[in-house]
């Protein structure tokens, strides 16, 4: 039962609206730097657009989806009215305020520093403070998730926490802690310089702080998708979760090992030594583990659904799956993109292979395939699944939904495959234009053109998604009944304390962060003479 439907809808609508804007900017960027566009007379416009695209897609959109979905999970899985609704609204409005505060200086060209900040480039303080407000707003959500679970536990002593809520709270704790890295960078380093209290900044230290956030934030984006894999998909296609225990272990592994691995983003950096680079590389290999476990458990869960529908044979059951069900389609697309993107990820985190693709278009291709592809297509699926429960109206046009999902999948493949390819050829990221007339760059022109068309397909699909949701607000009324999550084949009556609580794992996450980040941060902070003059952006 969803009592606070307005709250959840507000989160989703704001998330998907800004997503639509950022997607349009992305498609424009693909176009303008491709051979089919003409060179920008003012390349700075490209970087404004890129900063807005990254800030929205990285900080605002997935955070709001996780929050809205989290509130829905809390009410539906715990079957308990949300505690702290006023605070939830306060968090939402803080994010709206922060987003507006950040986007204005970006639009004015006062903060073209990209969402990764890149000090010693320094933009308008309003941009950074806006981002901080977005994060603070989301921390209210983290607290509310913990409080709601605690209230439920008091009423149900010793009972197994529903899997969806267990995973949701794990994701919220991961976010709370991983955001601390960028928060330290902003509060201790960037904002003091931006408002004029200081004139120098240690760029190397800032990069290490940011890597603390930069990798685990990806797993925070991933959480709603994995929660949907485990707790929505099996129910939606008529199956069961193969293993409740394995699901809990996977989410715990994400919580513990997603955090102390971020320095694989700094393999090519001069301010971190080889030892910590290797440790972070090895831990990154470890984070493949929960994904490997998940792929197994979800494939098994899907097979259960197929066999219940009469599927037979070693692989013959695949045909028996409900392929006309949007959730089935989304899952299949998501898994294909997760597999391809995951394989690319193993190359990126590799101690040796990273050098051949570091900061090339390969990286852009990689995270668009994983985040924009595997993760966001499940955000669509989550919205489609929740919409009837939020609006009290039916989503009737399944054909349109399937078209939208197909377009997103095709668009993402057409965009990212050529991106990976030109990356291997050594095409750098984040350039407003390329001289395709140069004989060494000319061979990349065709690939970049393909990518641009992929961008247009994605834009079409994204706009279609918004149309479907908007039409869903005006469809005939229908009672969707209570919102339910998938149950396991062997639904546990009791769960060991370690798999039912988070404290031990949060402690382990913090300890591992300290062992893997403490020494590098401390030595960099204590090294004299590495602070460099700030370079102000858009000051003239």
């Amino acid at each position: 039962m969803l009592a606070n439907r307005k709250l959840i809808l507000a989160h989703f609508w704001f998330a998907f609206s800004v997503f639509g804007v950022a997607l349009t900017l992305g498609a424009w960027q693909m176009f303008i730097r491709s051979p089919i566009g003409t060179w920008l007379s003012n390349p700075e416009l490209y970087y404004r657009s890129l900063t807005a695209h990254g800030t929205v897609m990285g900080y605002v959109f997935p955070t709001l989806v996780a929050m809205g979905f989290g509130y829905a999970i809390s009410e539906a899985a715990l079957e308990q009215r949300l505690v702290g609704v006023r605070w939830a609204w306060a968090g939402f409005w803080l994010i709206v305020l922060g987003s507006v505060m950040a986007i204005i200086p970006i639009a004015l060209g006062r903060a073209s520093v990209l969402y990764t900040f890149y000090p010693p480039l320094i933009g308008s303080p309003f941009y950074y403070i806006g981002v901080v407000l977005v994060v603070v707003g989301s921390w209210i959500w983290v607290a509310l998730m913990a409080i709601n679970l605690r209230v439920w536990r008091k009423a149900h002593p010793g009972a197994p926490v529903p899997l969806a809520m267990f995973a949701n709270v794990a994701g919220s704790y991961l976010w709370a802690w991983t955001a601390v890295g960028a928060a330290l960078e902003l509060l201790l380093q960037i904002i003091p310089v931006s408002v004029g209290l200081k004139a120098t900044i240690d760029a190397g230290l800032a990069r290490v702080f940011f890597s603390w956030t930069l990798h685990a934030i990806v797993y925070f984006w991933l959480m709603p998708t994995y929660i949907a894999y485990y707790t929505i998909v099996p129910r939606a296609i008529g199956g069961r979760v193969y293993s409740d225990t394995m699901a809990r272990i996977s989410f715990i592994l994400f919580l513990v090992v997603a955090m102390p691995i971020g320095m694989h983003h700094t393999f090519a950096d001069p301010q971190v030594g080889a030892g910590f680079k290797f440790i972070h590389s090895a831990f990154t290999a470890l984070v493949a583990l929960p994904t490997l476990l998940t792929v197994f458990t979800i494939c098994a869960s899907v097979e259960i659904a197929a066999r219940l529908r009469g599927g037979r044979g070693m692989f013959g059951w695949i045909r028996a799956l409900p392929w006309d069900n949007p959730m089935m389609l989304a899952l299949a697309f998501s898994f294909v993109m997760l597999g391809l993107g995951g394989a690319g990820g193993l190359i990126n985190m590799s101690y040796q292979l990273d050098a051949s693709i570091h900061n090339t278009q390969w990286i852009t291709g990689h995270f668009h395939l994983i985040f924009g592809g595997a993760i966001v297509i499940m955000y669509f699926a989550i919205a489609y699944d929740l919409w009837p429960h939020l609006t009290g109206r039916e989503l009737i046009d399944l054909r349109l939904i399937r078209t939208q999902l197909w377009l997103w999948f095709i668009g993402m493949i057409v965009t990212t495959f050529p991106w990976h390819w030109v990356g291997i050829l050594g095409m750098p990221r984040r350039m407003a234009y390329f001289d395709f007339g140069h004989p060494a760059i000319a061979p990349q022109a065709l690939s970049v053109t393909f990518s641009a068309f992929g961008g247009f397909i994605l834009l079409t699909s994204g706009l279609l998604f918004l149309v479907i949701l908007a039409r869903g607000m005006r469809a005939p009324q229908a009672d969707a009944g209570p919102y339910r999550f998938a149950i396991a084949v062997h639904q546990p009556a009791t769960v060991p304390v370690a798999l039912n609580t988070h404290a031990l794992w949060v402690a382990l996450m913090i300890v591992l962060t300290i062992t893997n980040y403490g020494y590098p941060i401390l030595t960099l902070a204590l090294t004299e003479g590495t602070s460099v003059p700030a370079v102000y952006v858009g000051a003239q």
């Binding site: 390349p43 073209s112 990209l114 890149y118 010693p120 480039l121 240690d202 760029a203 190397g204 990069r207 193969y242 293993s243 394995m246 700094t266 393999f267 090519a268 950096d269 001069p270 301010q271 030594g273 080889a274 290797f278 590389s281 090895a282 290999a285 470890l286 493949a288 583990l289 490997l292 197994f296 458990t297 193993l346 590799s350 101690y351 040796q352 050098a355 051949s356 570091h358 900061n359 090339t360 050829l425 050594g426 750098p428 990221r429 984040r430 350039m431 407003a432 234009y433 060494a440 084949v489 062997h490 030595t523 090294t527 003479g529 590495t530 602070s531 460099v532 003059p533 370079v535 952006v537």
Partner: protein, 188 residues
């Protein structure tokens, strides 16, 4: 009763299959880490191992990265060292000249913001962070020109920051390097 026993048995089968897969997954992960460690230790292929610092506000006044010391130099022991800096929005030297089939040490830093050096068609790829010195070992097996774009966003002129590496014949390089001068191919 029998249904319950049946359920119990199927739960055991499920757990066993799952354990087997988890074991395989762990082995895959451990193998990957071991491979990386082996290649790192045995073949000495690894990212930059040491941390060195430098003061970017004094680069142009004295020390290793003063302008007259930038470019390629043939040391007495036969080693080739290339020193370069990145600044908004160019590399100095903009054209780096090196000999083919020779171990080369690239030492570089930034004079202002974060930049990056990437040599296309190779795996030479490093960040330039102001305040720190980047060092990379490299060896070219084929002569010719390579593009060297800045691979990190460094503000509005980033898209125009492209350098070049020219790999020339060994004897030719040795000839030009006689007398210990700093070589580059700027303007050639």
């Amino acid at each position: 009763m029998s249904a319950q026993e049946d359920g119990h048995r199927s739960a055991e089968v499920a757990a066993r299959v799952e354990r087997r897969w988890a074991t395989i997954a762990v082995i895959i992960v451990v193998m990957m880490a071991l491979l990386a460690a082996f290649a790192g230790i045995h073949r000495a292929t690894m990212p930059q191992p040491r941390v060195e610092t430098t003061d970017p506000s004094r680069l142009h006044l004295a020390g290793e990265f003063v302008e007259s010391n930038l470019g390629s130099v043939l040391e007495a022991n036969g080693a080739v060292i290339v020193r370069a800096i990145g600044q908004q929005y160019s590399f100095t030297p903009a054209c780096i000249v090196v000999p083919v089939d020779t171990p080369i040490t690239l030492r570089a830093t930034s004079a202002d913001v974060v930049h990056g050096i990437l040599i296309q068609g190779t795996n030479v790829n490093t960040m330039l962070v102001p305040g720190y010195i980047s060092e990379q070992l490299m060896r070219f097996t084929r002569t010719g020109d390579y593009l060297m774009p800045c691979q990190e966003f460094c503000s509005f002129g980033h898209e125009g920051m492209w350098g070049k590496v020219r790999v020339i014949d060994k004897a030719d390089f040795a000839n030009r390097a006689k007398g210990g001068g700093r070589l580059s191919c700027v303007g050639q």
